[in-house]
Structure formats: C-alpha cells, structure tokens
Symmetry: C2
Subunit: 323 residues, 2 copies
C-alpha cells in the first residue's frame, strides 16, 4: 500500500475504490472493500448517509474479522465526501449502488463518467437493468459494466459481471479480474440477460412460493423449512445441477433426465406470477413476522451473517481451512 | 430396547421398523433408522439387494457416527428377509420406497396392507403420486400415508407428511409424531399437492436452469456457482421468504413487496418447461460430467455427505452444538 499507481491501472494494482450510493448494497460494498485493505471514498446524497454508513460498516466488522481482514484493513480508511466529484476524483475503480430507477441510473452514470479519471472502470450494482439501457447518456459508455452483487456484498461471494452493447470487452475482462483479486466469486456473462443468472433462479422459486401462499397450499414457515431442512442444506456447497445428477444414482444426470425428464411436463410449477393483491401481501408479511418472532431486524442480520460465515468455514471456503 | 411393545403402539414406543425397497432412498431410510437405534427389517426383490444394502449402510455409517448414533444403534440390527411378509410381520412402522410406478405402488401397498399387523401405519416415500391415487386397492387405506424424504434420507432432515382422501387423520398425526421422534424435520400438509412443497420449489428453479442451458444463456457451472456462491449459502439456514424479507432492510417483507412487487410482472422467468431434446439432454449431461471432473460418483456422494454434516454442525443443528 506504499505505491500510488495512477488511474487507470492493472486490477492487481488498485488501491483506491469509490462507492457511490451508501444504502444496504452500497454500504455492504464499502465494508467489503475496506476489509480487503482498500482505501474507500464514498458519497451518498442522503443527509444522514455518513452516520448510517459508518454504523453499517461497524456492524459488519466483527463478521469481517472472522472472515479474515487483509493486511492493513481498517475502518479508518473510509472517507465520506461531500460531493460525487470528490469521491471519484482519484479513484481506480468505481462501484455505483444507487436506487433502482432507470432515469436516475442513466444520469448518474453519465455524471460519474464525466467526473472519473479517463479509462477507470465504473461498475453498477443494478439487479434490474441491462447496461445497454443505462449507458445511453455517458460520453464514454465503453468503461461502464454491471457488477451485480448479492446481499450482503461483504459476505456473499457472488458477483455477476456483464457489459452492455457499447461496453468495451476489455472493461468486462478488467472488472472480472478486479473482483477476483478483491475476493469475490465472479461469473462473467457473455450477453445481457434480464435478472442475470442467480436472480432468475431465485425468482422462479420465489414465484412458486408466492403461488403456494396465495392458494393456502403452504405457509411461509413451510416454505422456509422445506428449503433449510431440505435442499438448502446441499445448495450451500453443491449447486442444483450436480445435486440433481446425484439423484440419478451412479447413472448420473443422464439417468436422471432419461428417467424423470417426462415429469417436466407435469403441471407442478405455475406458469404465471400470481396477482400480488393485499391479501397475498399481508399473508407474506405476517408469515415473515411470525417466523421472525421476538428477533429484531438486527438480530436476524447478525444471525444471517454468522450463519454464512459458519457455512463458509464448514465448507472449507474460509482462507486456508481445508475440508 | 428391552420391551417389545405390541404393534400398533405409540410413536414413542416403536422399536421395529420395516423398510420395503432398498435402493438409494429405501437404503437411506434403513441407514437412518439403524442409526437412531431401531431394529430394521428390509426386503427388496432384487437378487443382489442385501449385498448392495449392507454396502450402502456401511458407507453411510461414518457420516452417521459424526451426526451421533442413538444408544445401542448398530448395523447388526438390520435383518434382510426373503419375503415381504417376513419383513413386515412384526413391524411397528413400515416405510415403502419402491420405484415410482403407479401400478406397482398400488399393488405393493395393497400387499403390504394385507401382510402388516392391523393398525400399523404404512408410509410411502413417493415423490410423485398422491396417496389418493395409490391407496385404491388396499383393504385398509386409512393407515396409508405419504412420508416423502429427501436424498439422502439419513442426512437431510426434511420429511413431508400427507394423507390421501381415504387416509385417517390419526394416521397422519401418528406418522408426523413418529418421524419427529425418529429425528426428522416434519412438515405436515393438510392437503395433497403434486410435488409437495420442497420439490415444487426445486422444480421451478430447475426448469429455469434448463431454459438457461437450452438457450445458451448460462452453463451448468454458471448455474451451480450462482447458487453455491450466492443464495445457496443463505438457504442452508434461512429460507427464501425470510431471506427476501431481509432484502427489504428494516422495512422487511412489506417494504420488499411494496417496492419490488411490480417486478414480478417482468418476464424473467419462462412460463413453460423447455423441450427436453437430445441437445439439451446432452448439454446437461456434459456440463455435469465436466463439473465432476476426476471425481467419481462415490467421491461426490462422500463430498456431499461430508458437506451436509459440516453445514449442519456449522449452523448449530448437530445435537447439543449451540451456535
């Protein structure tokens, strides 16, 4: 951390990261980058943003200590700036995590492009918009990529990286390498796909869950228990494809598909999303409140965080912990 | 284990369990019941069934020792019988795990009903058929229930319990209590639902995965990585509903639905299952073989088993292991 390479630089040489937007996702990115030993500048237009951000980082820190901090990592290396321009002026990588509004994203990315040193990659945390639709107003759309994280970004390794039609292939490759160096698990997509990959899978499951609750076929607790006591235990370390392959016995995926393929035609899964009316909404809200019981939001977050760490450690994904 | 209560008996007093069908699922049940200290009789029509079954149990035993054996549990308490009638003659509970063929299930359950002491509950491991359709030929359909496990039944806690139209409510309640006593996590359903709960959720995700592979939008590895490096890490200990509630920040599920509910209308998830043609089939098979690499089927099973144990331990679900 003694050199101060100019921006842009190689992914391995990045020292200074700017995080724009400091809500749950942006703040999670700040915590992650600080824990990995970067200098982080952050900007958010909310008046109480700095206080909230520092609280979020402080709350995440014990978890990050368990995961193992990079050498020199410190919460003190966070600078919250008064303006967007100050945040990115000296940045070697920019992570944008503004609210999911297309017009806002468009103008914000154009503004970031204008203020950030030439050639420095700017990544958006968007979970909803293709970069092609967001990069329309930027003078240099080639350096704009999507780097879609999962919540909380300081614990869940996955980042999905994809460019828009006007993104340079180099910027996609640079970002993938950078995230990898920065300790994330990267999936680089070669085309834009609404919802990316993991969210499409989650969304399919989620729609089915909503249907079941809407029809009184299962409660929120049934649904959550059916996952955590069942397939969820496997999915923490073995994905659905390989899991299904094992269900085929020694014949593997081939046996499974030849044997059970026809059941794909059975009308188990509903074909459309249910009407999200007041009744369904309230049933979901009540079910979750019931499931939470006496536990506050902070309790649940702490429980989730500790759980992810424990699962990571248990499955040999903490540094040096072979299984 | 000194008393020999008559059959039927209270769920807490069961000592002798019969397992009919000794393939991957039936054999997994045998291993589970042995580990929980029951005397187990097993029958399977395959000529090499006993050898395969004892090998399966022996392979599972180290995992079961890690989970913690019940007092007196022993592989020696397994008796493989020459006939179905001998297996169930003295049973206090019967678990049927025959192949998924409706006619076979119908006649087998009728045969089991005729041979099993009156009043003893007979549960089917079926993943596909409603009990209403399977209990048509039995003289006493009232004692026939579905007890649907997940693979492997000796490690994954979940069992979904549901009766058919002609099943007695008492038999459903008895089964749920018995599985609970026998160390399983039980979801008791009050109506028949094709695919039950967990499989409907899995199936929705699985269809989406097949679509993505079919369209070249993601590889098998992308899909598996997107789960194990992302949401799968959370699902081992917190279900999808509560996970989504946390995504709503302190506003919880209500904020989440009010905010993101409209995106349900976006056409992310496909509405029908893809054509499972040769090309898709082969892509899935190849992808899984690639993911498996040098690892044999046995390697992967051992890895999966160890992983589940580690995750169970990590998330405080091993006996007495507080988190």
């Amino acid at each position: 951390m003694t050199t101060t390479p100019p921006a842009p630089c190689a992914p391995e040489d990045v020292r200074r990261v700017a995080c724009i937007g400091a809500g749950v996702i942006g703040g999670g990115w700040v915590a992650h980058f600080l824990a990995r030993g970067y200098d982080v500048t952050a900007w958010d237009p909310a008046p109480d943003a700095e206080e909230k951000l520092r609280r979020l980082v402080a709350a995440a820190w014990p978890a990050l200590e368990q995961l193992g901090l990079a050498e020199g990592a410190s919460q003190d290396r966070l600078t919250v700036t008064a303006t967007l321009a100050e945040a990115v002026a000296d940045a070697q990588f920019v992570q944008e995590s503004a609210p999911e509004k297309l017009e806002l994203k468009r103008s914000l990315l154009a503004e970031l492009d204008a203020a950030t040193p030439p050639g420095v990659v700017i990544a958006s945390s968007t979970s909803g918009y293709p970069m092609t639709d967001m990069q329309t107003e930027a003078a240099d759309p080639g350096r704009l990529v999507v780097g879609h994280p999962f919540n909380p970004p300081y614990l869940i390794p996955l980042v999905e990286v994809v460019g828009g039609e006007r993104t340079a292939a180099d910027a996609v490759a640079w970002s993938s390498r950078f995230y990898d160096v920065a300790g994330k698990s990267v999936i680089t997509m070669d085309r834009e796909l609404p919802g990316f990959i993991a969210n499409r899978l989650q969304e399919a499951l989620w729609r089915e869950a909503l249907h079941m609750v809407a029809n009184g076929e299962a409660t929120v607790k049934d649904i959550d228990d059916s996952i955590t006591e069942g397939p969820g235990l496997r999915w923490a370390f073995m994905g659905p494809c390989l899991t299904f392959a094992l269900a085929g016995g020694e014949g593997g995926m081939g046996h499974m598909l030849d044997h059970f393929g026809p059941s794909l035609k059975s009308p188990w899964t509903r074909l459309e999303a249910p009407e999200l009316d007041r009744e369904l909404r309230d049933a979901m809200v009540d079910g979750c409140e019931e499931a939470a019981g006496e536990r506050t939001y902070a309790d649940l977050v702490a429980e989730r965080d500790q759980g992810v760490i424990d699962v990571l450690r248990a499955t040999g994904r903490l540094g040096g912990t072979a299984r």
